[in-house]
């Protein structure tokens, strides 16, 4: 029983991370008709920006707090990432650690939001309704901006600790509950509720839901849908950035291949959940997260095969996904 509880918590945490990436991807694909292969690079930049800003802010706070603190290992090329050694037996107060963590997340999410704005304005804007061009241009962005990460921070992985206040394990009966996983589940739920509220209660949500069905008809009632496309793309990018920022402390290091690996999972969720379906992304992510940890424990060698198999079955029997819409494309 304890093992099952542990696995469920781990699976839900994985699902929460996949959801952050897949929800934006699904709405971008459903509303704008854009197949965004650059989504993984936005995830990656979120991760690197989080790690870089976390280290940078923490270094300054620790150096200001403890005169005897010593800077330690240095990673990266153009923007370096530098750890700091606290004096023996000393720790930063909880509030300081919390502020550092939140500030680093905000830097990462804000930066990737701006990246999303720039990508949409410079590249995506020009290829609405032209799927082959979208695939080529977003794949190009993926390759170039992943390489830029390698140029700025180097090709090698480097470690990132979880914030001390989230870095624990509680034993409940025979179940081992990792605090960071519980945190990820809560973040996923909060983000899901916020997105749901925006989609159902705000004007922008109305436009997004209408645009998922027919961008042309939205234009024909006097709405400049291109402006909403930009906002949606940037918001989707920010969600991917948040996913990347939260993913790196989970796995304990930051590496430049993380974007592409997670992007594949997000695409599988979009296919399984259905294009443009928020609920589909949510449930599909949870399903994939739970299935992933279950298979990793029982038949580790089949985890990738299982994901692809699920996607193939859904495509065969429910091409619009389990919760999908009939989608029209922006042009």
């Amino acid at each position: 029983m304890g093992t099952i509880v542990t696995l469920v918590v781990n699976g839900l945490a994985q699902g929460a991370l996949i959801f952050l990436m897949a929800s934006g991807l699904s709405i971008i694909l459903g509303m704008m008709g854009v197949i965004n292969f650059a989504h993984g690079t936005l995830f990656l930049w979120g991760g690197y920006m989080y790690v870089w800003s976390y280290y940078a802010i923490r270094l300054r706070v620790v150096m200001a707090w403890f005169e005897t603190a010593v800077p330690v290992t240095r990673f990266g090329n153009i923007l370096t990432i530098q750890g700091v050694q606290l004096p023996p037996g000393e720790t930063l107060p909880f509030l300081a650690e919390l502020v550092i963590f939140i500030a680093a997340l905000l830097v990462a999410v804000g930066f990737v939001f701006v990246m999303g704005l720039v990508f949409e304005k410079l590249f995506i804007n020009r290829v609405y309704g032209r799927v082959p061009a979208q695939i080529l241009i977003t794949l190009g962005i993926q390759v170039v901006f992943t390489d830029i990460v390698r140029v700025i921070w180097g090709p090698n992985p480097f470690p990132i600790d979880r914030p001390p206040f989230l870095n624990g394990v509680s034993v409940v009966g025979t179940a081992r509950i990792v605090h960071y996983n519980v945190f990820l589940i809560l973040v996923g739920l909060v983000i899901a509720v916020i997105i749901h509220r925006i989609l159902t209660k705000s004007r922008i949500g109305m436009v997004i839901r209408a645009g998922l069905q027919s961008p042309d008809h939205v234009r024909a009632i006097g709405i400049n849908i291109k402006r909403y496309f930009t906002i949606v793309f940037a918001a989707g990018a920010a969600l991917a950035g948040l996913g990347g920022a939260l993913y790196m402390p989970l796995v304990g290091n930051v590496v430049s291949t993380a974007g592409m690996n997670n992007q594949i999972l997000a695409f599988i969720v979009v296919v399984v959940g259905g294009l443009g379906s928020f609920m589909g992304s949510f449930l599909g992510s949870i399903f994939l997260g739970l299935m992933g940890v279950g298979i990793a424990m029982t038949v580790p060698g089949l985890s990738v095969v299982a994901n692809v198999l699920i996607m193939a079955l859904v495509l065969m029997f429910r091409p619009n996904g389990l919760f999908g819409l009939a989608v029209s494309r922006a042009d």
Binding site: R209, D216, R219, A220
Partner: protein
Amino acid sequence: MQPLLKAENIVSYIGPYTILHDVSLEVTPGEAVVILGRNGAGKTTFLKTIMGLVHTRSGILEFDGETLVDKETHVIQRKGIGYVPEDYGIFDLLTVEENMRIAMWKEDAETKARCDWVLDLFPDLKLAYKRFAKTLSGGQRQMLSVGRALVNDNRILLVDEPSKGLAPVIIQTLAGALKEISRTTTVLLVEQNFAMACAVGQRFYIINEGKTVESGTMADLIQNKELQAVHLGI
């Protein structure tokens, strides 16, 4: 009187195909003008061309003296051109209320009053106000489509085949509503249902194979059986 809407020798295309070869018409303020023609003549494409949903290759297309050519659809609509598309353009994932609200330029007292007037005009919509649009019948969807185009202070209403696929009793209701609307708003109606065209229109244009071939008053057309037979198959 200066025309509110003026099209002169319009040529427009979809992808590589030229659909309109030479369409010309004028609508003056306060008129109810009907565009008639057989299936595939280019009537719907002409309305889409006005709305900027289909690209104009050449010709003059003006609204109140300003060109509409190369303008974006939302800009054209905001000039005061309400559009009721052939497939209704209803958003299934929105409720009836949301379908009305999303189209409002502003949510002021004047707009709310117009919205109330629409709900009085189409009582069915009032009953279904909180329901998702995907649950509406064909007739209710058409009423919502027309009603939505009326919530703003539009100067002209373009209506594309509102009778298509609807039961005769619903067509009668819609014809009455459009007649009522045409008392206060200029209307350009594309219609194949001759009875409805006669009920609403004062003047007509006939489009055939992407060209304007005939025009005149509805009274003349009603008398001219030969013209009806040649171009409308009646």
